[in-house]
């Protein structure tokens, strides 16, 4: 029997000819990351254990993106701990405010992840990098501390669930909708401990930005990782990363064998998927956006590590062009990186969104986890392109979050209730 792409990557990183699901391996890590919430705890463990040096200062990324620009005095203290550690250990990839972006947009965009890499991060959405055919997974602060010292991580080789998306999705159906739909089908632990391999013509047709959105939410199905095989879109994306970056210079190209062993194969007809929302308080609580028109909203968040890439902002701007955000709605844009902002300025996207009445934030995770820049009050309701809608996730426990694509979020911002692009008169292919 052959191997899956995930098994091949893990075999390489483990220095083994092949691996089987269930096997415990010690894998060499190509990149280790943490943020201003998880790094301080990891740094404390690293120092408490008596470690004095990191395995490779060039393979660690410290990204202060959650509560930055510092939201309060305590958060400032945590960011300071991380900054001081970065200076002490000469961490090459520490990103200060002004250069920082949301980690899972920033790191692949700066070319730090190559196909075939093993990436572990003290952030659950580390699974995002599967979009460039890497194995990546979230861990906690102690695993982060261990990997910083050791350059390795112990992993149980996961079984793989293969998702085959056939058919052509409708005009307003994005990778985000496919993923919300999938989570709705299998549940928030439907892929517990599994690698989720996304395949089929509908995936091949997706933009890289939408592939990132899908892999980003593998964790919302309990998955260990999400992955999309390498193709010419991956090549184009990687070749447009900064010159000399890892993405341009390193490539371990693997593909799943025809006779690879899958624990489960699920076929999904993408043409039958509708613009989808996840209702409170679980990502699996999905419904068609068209069936939720009676849900009035107070806030819209467009951005985050799930949907804060340029393509996502283009989708939102395409809907909001020449329109106004509903008078009762605050529409907040959380762009992924400073480069996303610059490109959105250069091509007029930012102007379109601001003219429509949106607020533009600095790149930060902020509102997604109820940190800052858009916290919800009791009884308030938001549509968000983020990834979680748990009780209290975006603020008060009495607030509600509906997860959606940038198209549905932008349409809802105009309508003042959950809406599809058609409802606000959007025409696919219209100018942005």
């Amino acid at each position: 029997m052959g191997s899956t792409i995930t098994e091949k990557i893990l075999a390489r990183a483990g220095g083994l000819d092949e691996v089987k699901p269930g096997q415990i391996i010690e894998a060499k890590v190509d990149l280790v990351l943490a943020n201003d919430i998880t790094a301080p705890l990891g740094i404390a463990e690293f120092e408490k254990a008596g470690f004095t040096k990191v395995f490779d200062p060039a393979r660690i990324a410290l990204v202060p993106d959650h509560f930055t620009p510092n939201k309060d005095i305590k958060a400032a203290g945590q960011a300071k701990k991380m900054r001081e550690f970065a200076r002490k250990h000469k961490i090459v990839n520490y990103f200060e405010v002004g250069r920082v972006g949301i980690e899972h947009v920033l790191l692949p965009d700066t070319g730090m992840v190559a196909p075939g890499d093993v990436v572990i991060g003290a952030d659950s959405h580390t699974c995002t990098y599967g979009a460039v055919a890497a194995f990546s997974t979230g861990v906690g602060s102690t695993d982060f501390a261990a990997a910083m010292a050791w350059g390795h991580v112990w992993l149980r080789v996961p079984e793989t669930y293969k998702f085959v998306y056939s058919g052509t999705p409708g005009p307003w159906v994005t990778g985000k909708d496919l993923m919300l739909h999938t989570i709705g089908l299998i549940g928030v632990d439907g892929a517990l401990y599994q690698a989720m391999e996304f395949t089929g013509p509908a995936i091949e047709a997706l933009s890289m930005d939408e592939r990132f959105s899908m892999c980003n939410m593998a964790i919302e199905a309990g998955g260990k990782s999400g992955i999309v095989g390498f193709d010419e879109k991956t090549t184009r994306y990687l070749q447009s990363r900064p010159e000399g970056s890892r993405a341009r210079t390193v490539s371990h190209l693997f593909a799943s064998d025809r006779d690879a062993g899958y624990a489960k194969v699920l076929e999904i007809d993408a043409s039958a998927v509708q613009p989808t929302v996840s209702k409170p308080h679980l990502p699996s609580n999905t419904a068609a956006a068209a069936d939720c028109a009676d849900i009035a909203i107070d806030q819209v968040i467009i951005g985050s590590c799930t949907n804060g890439r340029l393509h996502d902002l283009h989708q939102a701007a395409g809907i909001l062009k020449g329109k106004k955000v509903h008078p009762d709605v605050r529409c907040i844009i959380l762009p992924g990186t400073q480069d996303v902002c610059l490109e959105a300025i250069a091509d007029g996207t930012m102007q379109t969104l601001i003219e429509a009445g949106c607020a533009f934030s600095t790149p930060t995770c902020g509102a997604c986890l109820g940190g800052h820049m858009g916290v919800l009050a009791e009884g308030e309701r938001a549509v968000a392109t983020t990834n979680r809608n748990f009780v209290g996730r975006m603020g008060h426990t009495g607030a509600e979050v509906y997860l959606a694509s940038p198209y549905v979020a932008a349409a809802s911002a105009i309508a003042g209730h959950i809406a599809t692009p058609e409802e606000v008169g959007a025409v696919k292919g219209g100018s942005r």
Binding site: F51, D72, Q78, D143, W150, R156
Partner: protein
Amino acid sequence: MIFEGNVHKYGRDVDTDVIIPARYLNTNDPDELARHAMEDIDADFVDRVQPGDIIVATENFGCGSSREHAPVAISHSGVSVVVAASFARIFYRNAINTGLPIVVCPAAAADARMGDRLKVDLQAGTVENLTQGKTYEAEAFPPFMQELIDRGGLLEYVKTQLGEDQA
């Protein structure tokens, strides 16, 4: 190790946002985190919990964010052990890494009710519901996890792997 305590019972998909809400993640002080343990699913938890008490939940306990603050908040609140039908992957690793005892035991998790008296024997791998007079077999840890625990946790294991030069 044997733990005996009163049950705080929850359902499925208890996520780390309700275990320790993000608004308290501007610190990693264990006692401060413990003061807000379980706050968004059970606002009175910290007032009720007694040292040695046991959290019992059904499937997918600890899903969501990778925040290690979640097992830290639970263990420093006085909870001795968490029994669940299943754990989310990152929480499982984090619990082992931070020394919060966890036990996978679907039948015990399904039967237990709020306030039941439970006795958990980690070595024997048993969960006893003293209130209901039932005893259950818990799932054993995979051998590698047991080895990590026996060797004093992940960082001790890593020290051995790295040899003397680092430690």
